[in-house]
Amino acid sequence: MLKKLLLVIFVIGLVVAGILLAIGSKTMANVSYQSYQTATYSYDVELDTVYDSKSDMHAENGILVSVSPQRETEDAAGFSDAYYRASWERAQQWATERRTGLADVMLIFAHPLTLEEANHILDPIKANVFESGFVGYVDGTPFAGYLKEEGRLSHTLQECAKLGGYGVGPDGVVPEMTENDVDKSAGDYDVRGYLAVRAWIDLANLDSLRHHQDVLLVDTTPQDVRDQLSENPTWQGKVIRAVALEMPVWDYRWE
């Protein structure tokens, strides 16, 4: 009798294990990855993990967010007018409400700026810059470069040109370069300036930024996403490692 019972428990256990095997990965995906849609953008949230050498396992390490703005129907590269308008109106609303505190925003400049020109806008408001995007030409072809920043823009446009100066050209030619070639290959880069930055700003400065002659838009979407996540029971309280948002340097007509 006892053996029969053990046999039944064993078989049930195996079947349950099989079912979990089949649906477990799907369930795991559902609880660790979610997509959300708003009127003008969508965003995906996923759990981040990191290797923990003490336990020899991967441990949860906050969340990563990828934002996808609504696109132009005729140009997949471009953000829609509705997206820009919604972001502009949100910034206006926050300024009107005199909202305070730090906010994660993307500043899109009205035209490419030099290091000094960009810092002239960012330094007085003590913006904490963590990503920048600059534009220019390489061998006559438009290009964009993206830098991780540590609080303040620090690369001159000449230094930006040197960053990409070693790579393989868009024509597919693989040059044999040495460190001494840097100036020559950097010379192929014509960097026009910084076109966008991601930064933490004090919202007390939002209105003045919005009206700055060299600022095209203060895109408040990253902070809007953070606000939604802070109220979402699934994700609230988790550390947000990144809110990734494309800088519209390809779409924006800076030439």
């Binding site: 053996k3 046999l7 064993f10 078989v11 195996l14 079947v15 294990a17 099989g18 079912i19 095997l21 089949a22 990965s25 799907k26 795991m28 995906a29 660790s32 990855y33 995906d44 996923e46 981040d48 990191v50 290797y51 923990d52 050498s53 390490n61 990563l64 990828s66 934002v67 996808s68 696109r71 997949a76 590269a77 390489v138 290009f143 964009a144 470069g145 993206y146 830098l147 991780k148 960053l163 990409g164 070693y166 790579g167 393989v168 050209g169 868009p170 597919g172 693989v174 040059p175 370069m177 460190e179 840097v182 490692r241 990144a242 990734a244 948002l245 494309e246 390809w250």
Partner: protein
């Protein structure tokens, strides 16, 4: 006498075990069919030409991709991971940290981030979320990425490229090897 009594019971054990294994095999098939463990994606690109340059305080790496072999272009939710370590063994961590990205060949990167994979203080992975709507076949897509040297070791290392999506197994595309002094030490393929 005892042996005769255990015979049928033993058969029942065996048959139950076999049935259970079949259930597990079916379940595995379902999971595999769903693609959760598929490590050979039908919409992955080929890894093309590249360059590796050893500089004073940083290295520059420029892997290039083209959708040629696979007839399917990705349609959604795909990414390319540049792993500046060996994700298979967890070796060569904390040696290189990417900080600069340049995309060439068109507007094909949606957004990107760097991530800590090994538990130290270094983000040794750069994730490129693809802008699938802009991809075309037989077109070279390239990134130029600069990474800071974090410390020197008495051994070489490697960087890997994978095509994947969230919670999917990686479709490994290739790797770049470097020496203890970060010089080019060949690549695979």
């Amino acid at each position: 006498m005892q042996t005769c009594e255990r015979g049928p019971q033993f058969k029942r054990y065996i048959s139950s075990f076999v049935i259970s294994l079949l259930v597990l095999a079916v379940c595995y098939g379902i999971v595999k069919a769903a693609g959760a463990w598929d490590a050979d994606w039908s919409d992955s690109p080929d890894w093309g030409y590249q360059n590796w340059t050893n500089l004073d305080t940083q290295v520059q790496w420029s892997p290039t991709f083209m959708w040629t072999t696979n007839s399917n272009l990705p349609t959604s939710n795909r990414r390319i991971e540049l792993e500046w370590y060996d994700p298979g063994t967890g070796n060569f961590c904390d040696r290189l940290e990417p900080f600069y990205l340049q995309e060439l060949g068109g507007d094909w990167v949606d957004n990107w981030w760097t991530d800590n994979e090994c538990g130290g203080s270094v983000d040794e992975e750069l994730v490129l979320n693809l802008k699938e709507s802009t991809l075309s076949q037989n077109t070279w897509y390239q990134v130029i990425v600069n990474a800071t040297k974090k410390y020197s070791a008495a051994y070489g290392g490697e960087c890997n490229v994978s095509f994947t999506c969230y919670l999917c197994s990686d479709d490994w595309l290739g790797k770049q090897l470097y020496t203890a002094s970060y010089d080019d030490n060949g690549s695979t393929p």
